[in-house]
Subunit: 650 residues, 2 copies
C-alpha cells in the first residue's frame, strides 16, 4: 500500500512497452523513439512531463514531452549508437506555471491580486536561493512582485515564466515505475535486401565468387548461403527428398556434420577456409554482407554424436532419436537436446559456433527453424552475442504459429520471416501488413518478406509465369524494408512444383546440383536491379512504419504509400494482383494527410518505367497490364520534396 | 538474460491484468473471474495450462484452462468470500499427451511403433514410481506396453491417458511472472440503488425516519445522506449560493465544522448520536444501508483550524488559503493540505474519521470530490479500511477528466459516478457504456449512474417534464447495475434551473430547507418502485458485463440486452430518447447469440406494463409514446428460461 508519499503526479501507460518492459523495443542507430505516456495530478495543478533516456549505463538525458490533450503526453529521442538504451518518463507539479495561470484568471476577472503577487514573490525568492545562475535576476523579479504598488503585469510576464521554468523546483518527481529498454541494431537490421543462393551449384566457393558482381548489379545488400559445412552420409537424402541416395548425390546442406567436421568446418567440396574468407572479403568489396545459416542440428555423422552423446535424446531401444514430425521421419537429422543435463556445455558450444563465424567476419545469420529450440536458449545466445557485438543481425526462419514467431522476435531476433509468402489477396495483405507495421508488433518484430525460399514455391507462382514473379517481387520489396529472394530460381521464374499443389520445387536444389543460366534474356534481373535501385534512392522505403494502404476501387489492385520521416520522400505503389488480366480502377489519395497541395496539380513519376504524369485532386485512374509491368512505383511530389527530383515538370 | 533454464513453456498476456498487475481487479463475493492467457512451447509438444488462485495468504487451488485456439487459454474461478484474492497461470509440457498424440499419427500411418511403446512404458513406469495411489495399475499398464507382442491399442487407450493425466509429471513448470490481485467486495458494491435526500428538509433525523418506509417501498437499497455534521457560520452561503446569509439560512452541509464539532460530530439541528444510531438501525430494518458523505474539507470554524493549523495552506498574508477554482472563490471552505509536513498525522486522523463511522454501523461512503486529494492518500486510506473491513463500499464522486476518474477507481474506489448524467444521444450512450462495460475499464471501474444530483440538474431535464425523467430513470436503472437519484426532487420532476442553461437547481436544497410533498399524485414513485422491483427480480440486471447494444432503426430509440451468467434471464430494454414525440422503428435481435430458438415464435413480456407479445424472427416493430411510458423493459424467453416465468403463453 502507498505510504505517506507526497508525489501527486501519476505516470502510467507508457508506450512503447513490450510485456510490461520484459522485452526491449527495437530500433537502429539514428532512428527515433517516439514515447507517449499518461501523466496527470489530482486537482487542477499544471505539470511538467519529460522523457528520460540514455545508452545503458550512460548519463540520463531529457527531452521535453508535449501535452496531446486528455492527459496524454508525447516526446521523442534519437538513438545514436549501437547497443542497449533505456528510457522512462518523469513528471512533477509545475508550481509556478499553476500560479501564473491562476493569476491570469483572477486578473482577467478584475480581482485584487496583491496577496497572490506576494505568493509569487515567495516562489521566485525560493528559486533565487536554489538557482546556480540568474540569482540577481530572480531577486529583481521577486522585488517587483513584492512592490507596495501591486504590479500584476510583472507576475504575468512571459520572461518570468521562462526564467522560472529554467529554475523550476523539481519536488516530488514521479518517475514511471519501469525503465524500458531499446535494442539498437545496425542499419541493415531494418533495411536490407537478401539474395539466397547455393554456391555449390556454381562449383566451389572460389567458383561462386563469379556470382558476386551479378548480385551486386541487382542491388542486393546481403548474400545468404545455405550451410557450408560438411554433409552427413548416413541416411543422406537423394534427389527430390528421397530416402535413397547415390554416391554422387550431394545431400542436403542442412544435414550438418561428417568425419570432415561439423558446424565450424567447411564442406571440402566447397573449398577451404582460405576460400571462405576470400569469398566473404570479395562479397564485402561488392557491397554485400555474407549471411551464414545457423542450423543447430546434426547428421548422424556429426563429430558431436560420438564426442558428446549426452547432447542427444535416446529412444527406448538406446538409439539416438532422429528428427520427426509424426508421421514424417527425418532420419538424416539428429536434433540436439537443449534440455539435457549437460545443456550448459551444449549451449556454450553453440555460442562458440556463432563466435567462431563472427570472428571470421560474418555479421549476419539466418537461423534455421528456431521455433524447435527453446526460447530461453535464444534469449541467452542472442543476448550474449549482442552484448559483445551489437552489430550482429539474426534472422528467424520460423514459419509457425503467430505467438511463437512473435516470442522469438521478442527474445532477440532482429528480423523474422513472415506469412507474406502465402498472403496473396488484397484483404490478406492489407490485414497482415497492417498488423505487422501499425500495432505494438512493429516495435519488436521486423518482417523480412520472401516471395519464395528453397523450401517454398507457393502455389500462386506455379502457373502464371513472369507477371506473378514481378508482382510478388515489387510487393516484397516495397511492403517490406527487409526482403529477400531465393535465386537464381526467382529471377529465372523457376515454377515447377514437385507435384501439382505441392510447395516443394521439382528437382529441388536442396538435394542436387543445379545449373542456372543467369544470362537468360527472360531473366527478371534487370527489373530486380531497378527495384533495388528505387529502394536505395527512396528513404520512404527504408522503414515500414509509415506504410498506409490506400483505397482503390478494384479488389485486384492494391495501393499503398510510404513516406520518409521528414515527409519529403513519398512513394505510392500500386500492384495488379491478377497476373493474367489488365485491371483498372480509381485510386484515392488523401492529399492533405500526404502533404500534397490540394489545389494544384502534382507530378507523379513512375520510377519503374520513367513515365511521368500530372495528377489533379484526390481521385485518379490506374490501369495495369500484367503483360508489361504489373506495378507502378510512383514518387509523388509533396510540399517538402526537393525540387531537383521533379525537374521534368518544372 | 535468461540463464540455462529448462522451462520451455511460455506464459504471457494474462488478462485481466491492470497496469501490469499494479492494481487489483474488482469482483464481489460469489462472482467468477474468467482468466485468459497465451501459453505455448517451442516445437510441437502438447502443454497443460492451469489457473491458480487463492484468498491472499491461503492455499493455492487450481482450475483447468481450456485451449481456445491460437495458443490462447481460458479458465475460471469463483471468489467465495470477501477480501483480497490472487491468481496467476502456470503451464508445463504434457509429455505423455505428446507421446500419445504422436503414437496415434504413427499408428494411423501404419508404422512399426514397438520402440515408441517401450518409450511409453518408461513414462508410465516413472509415473508409477512418482504416484501416491494407482501404483499397481500404472505398473500393469507399463507391462502391457512392454509386452513382446507390441500392443498399440494399449498405448492409445483413453483410460491410460486419464490415469497419466492424474499422475502427470510437472517438470519445469512455468508460472506467469506476476501474481495478480482481486479485491472482492460485498454484493452491493456491484448491485445497488441509491436514494439521496436531505434529512433536514424533514426536520431532525428522528423526523426523517418517516422517509424510510417510503424509500423502501420504492425499492432502493442505499439511502445516502449529505454530510450530517455541524455547519460553519463564517462566510456561510445563503440561498442560491449567495455569499450573504441570513441568521436562519442553514448553510451548505459540505461546509463542515463549527464550535459544535467537526467530522465526527452530528449537527445539533439534526439531533444527537442516539438519533443517528436509531436512524441507521431503522434504515436497516427497512432493508436500507445508510451511506455517509465523506467530504474532507473544513469550514473556517472547524475545530481542526484552531487545533491543527499546520494541516492547512497559508496565503502570503498569513491567512489560511480558502478553496478556489480561479476566478471562483469558496471562502466558506478551507481545503486540507495533504502534502503538509504533518501529513502523517492528518491522514491518520482522516482514517480515524472513517473508522469512527464504520464503528457506528456505517458501511457505505460517498466520497466528495476525491479528485482534489492525492491518489496516494486514497490508496492508503481505502486499502487500510478494506484490510480490516472488506465489506465497506466507497463511491467516488469525481466528475473530472477520464484518466483521473479511472485512477481513482484503480487506487481503490468500489464505485464511481460517471458522465452518464450528460450522455443523452444514442451514439453517446452506446459509446460510453460500451467503453465502461466491454473494455479493460470494466475490471476496475464500477459505474454508478445518476440522472441528477443536488449539484446537477442536466439541461435535458429542464423542459420536457415527466417523460424525460421516466426515460432517464429507466436508462440509469437498466444500463447500470449501480444507479442512484437525488430525491424527492427526482420523483417529483423538479426541473427549474437557477437560470436558463444552468445546471444548478433554482432554490437548491444545498442552501435551504425544502418542503416536499412525496404523496403528490404526479410523483414517479410508483414507476420507480416498479423499476426497482424489476431490477431485484431479474438477475441479468445485477451486472453490467453482459450489456450489449442492439440495432434499432431509429436514432431516437436505443435498445440493449443484458443476460444472466447462466443465460436463463434475458432482459431487453428499449427507450425513447425523444421525450416529446412517438418514435417507432424495427428492432434487430440476433436470436442465436441470445439463446432464442430461431424457428419458433418467442414470448416477450413487458415488465413495466405487463403487456405480453409473441414475436417471430429477428426483426420486430417497436413503438414508444412518451405520453404513456417512454420505455419497454422486456423479459425474453430463451431456451434456458424457467417455464413458470412465461406461463401466460404456455
Amino acid at each position: 500500500m502507498a505510504k505517506h508519499v507526497r508525489n501527486r503526479v501519476v505516470v502510467e501507460r507508457v508506450r512503447p512497452e513490450i510485456d510490461a518492459g520484459r522485452f526491449p523495443i527495437k530500433r537502429v542507430a539514428g532512428e527515433s523513439v517516439v514515447v507517449e505516456a499518461d501523466a496527470f495530478a489530482d486537482g487542477h495543478d499544471a505539470i511538467t512531463c519529460v522523457l528520460r533516456y540514455r545508452p545503458a549505463g550512460g548519463e540520463w538525458r531529457e527531452a521535453p514531452m508535449e501535452a496531446l490533450g486528455n492527459d496524454r503526453w508525447r516526446g521523442e529521442f534519437v538513438v545514436e549508437k549501437l547497443g542497449p538504451h533505456e528510457y522512462t518518463v518523469a513528471a512533477w507539479l509545475d508550481v509556478f506555471a499553476s500560479w501564473q495561470r491562476d493569476l491570469r484568471k483572477k486578473v482577467d476577472a478584475g480581482q485584487n491580486v496583491s496577496v497572490e503577487l506576494l505568493g509569487g514573490a515567495e516562489l521566485v525568492t525560493k528559486a533565487a536561493r536554489r538557482a546556480k545562475g540568474d540569482k540577481r535576476l530572480l531577486k529583481e523579479w521577486a522585488e517587483r512582485l513584492e512592490a507596495t504598488e501591486p504590479d500584476p503585469a510583472a507576475g504575468l510576464a512571459p520572461e518570468l515564466a521562462e526564467l522560472m521554468a529554467r529554475h523550476a523546483e523539481r519536488r516530488d518527481v514521479t518517475t514511471y515505475e519501469r525503465v524500458l529498454d531499446v535494442r539498437v541494431g545496425p542499419t541493415d537490421a531494418a533495411f536490407s535486401s537478401w539474395y539466397e543462393f547455393f554456391p555449390r551449384s556454381f562449383g566451389t566457393l572460389a567458383d561462386a565468387e563469379r556470382m558476386l558482381p551479378y548480385i551486386e548489379r541487382m542491388g542486393f545488400s546481403v548474400v545468404y548461403l545455405p550451410p557450408v559445412h560438411p554433409i552427413g552420409v548416413t541416411n543422406r537424402k537423394g534427389r527430390n527428398n528421397t530416402t535413397e541416395s547415390d554416391a554422387d548425390d550431394p545431400g542436403s546442406p542442412w544435414a550438418i556434420g561428417s568425419e570432415d567436421g561439423g558446424h565450424t568446418s567447411i564442406n571440402p567440396d566447397l573449398g577451404t577456409f582460405d576460400e571462405f574468407d576470400r569469398f566473404v572479403a570479395r562479397a564485402r568489396e561488392h557491397g554485400l554482407e555474407v549471411a551464414m545459416d545457423l542450423a543447430f542440428q546434426c547428421s548422424p555423422d556429426h563429430p558431436y554424436v560420438k564426442e558428446r552423446p549426452e547432447w542427444f535424446r535416446r529412444r527406448a531401444d538406446g538409439t539416438i532419436q532422429y528428427a520427426e514430425n509424426p508421421p514424417k521421419r527425418y532420419e538424416d537429422i539428429y536434433p540436439l537436446d537443449f534440455e539435457c543435463e549437460a545443456r550448459e556445455e551444449l549451449w556454450a558450444e553453440l555460442r562458440n559456433v556463432v563466435d567462431f563465424w563472427v570472428d571470421r567476419g560474418v555479421r549476419v545469420f539466418r537461423v534455421d527453424n528456431p521455433h524447435t529450440k527453446p526460447f530461453a536458449f535464444w534469449e541467452w545466445l542472442i543476448g550474449g552475442v549482442h552484448e559483445d557485438r551489437p552489430d550482429v543481425v539474426f534472422l528467424s526462419e520460423a514459419f509457425t504459429r503467430p505467438k511463437v514467431m512473435n516470442r522469438l522476435a521478442k527474445v532477440g531476433f532482429d528480423q523474422s520471416y513472415t506469412y507474406f509468402t502465402w498472403r496473396t489477396t488484397k484483404w490478406e495483405l492489407t490485414e497482415y501488413l497492417t498488423e505487422l507495421t501499425q500495432t505494438e508488433t512493429a516495435d519488436f518484430f521486423r518482417p523480412n518478406l520472401w516471395p519464395n525460399t528453397p523450401d517454398i514455391l507457393p502455389e500462386h507462382l506455379h502457373h502464371q509465369g513472369a507477371p506473378a514473379f514481378m508482382a510478388r517481387l515489387v510487393l516484397a520489396a516495397t511492403l517490406g524494408a527487409n526482403y529477400g529472394i531465393y535465386g537464381p530460381a526467382y529471377e529465372l521464374c523457376e515454377n515447377i512444383p514437385l507435384a501439382p499443389g505441392r510447395e516443394e520445387y521439382l528437382n529441388s536444389e536442396k538435394f542436387e546440383i543445379k545449373k542456372w543460366d543467369v544470362d537468360d534474356p527472360h531473366s527478371l534481373s534487370d527489373l530486380i536491379a531497378r527495384v533495388n535501385r528505387i529502394r536505395a534512392d527512396n528513404e520512404s522505403l527504408h522503414s515500414d512504419r509509415t506504410l498506409r494502404f490506400r483505397e482503390i476501387q478494384n479488389d485486384n489492385l492494391i495501393a499503398y504509400t510510404k513516406q520518409s520521416p521528414d515527409g519529403s520522400n513519398l512513394v505510392l505503389v500500386v500492384v495488379n494482383l491478377d497476373a493474367e488480366h489488365i485491371q483498372s480502377g480509381m485510386l484515392h489519395l488523401p492529399l492533405g494527410e500526404l502533404g500534397i497541395d490540394e489545389h494544384a496539380s502534382y507530378g507523379v513519376h513512375d520510377l519503374l518505367t520513367e513515365a511521368r504524369y500530372l495528377w489533379h485532386g484526390e481521385w485518379n485512374y490506374i490501369e495495369l497490364d500484367p503483360g508489361s509491368i504489373p506495378a507502378h512505383i510512383f514518387r509523388l511530389r509533396t510540399r517538402l520534396s526537393r525540387e531537383e527530383d521533379f525537374d521534368y515538370f518544372s
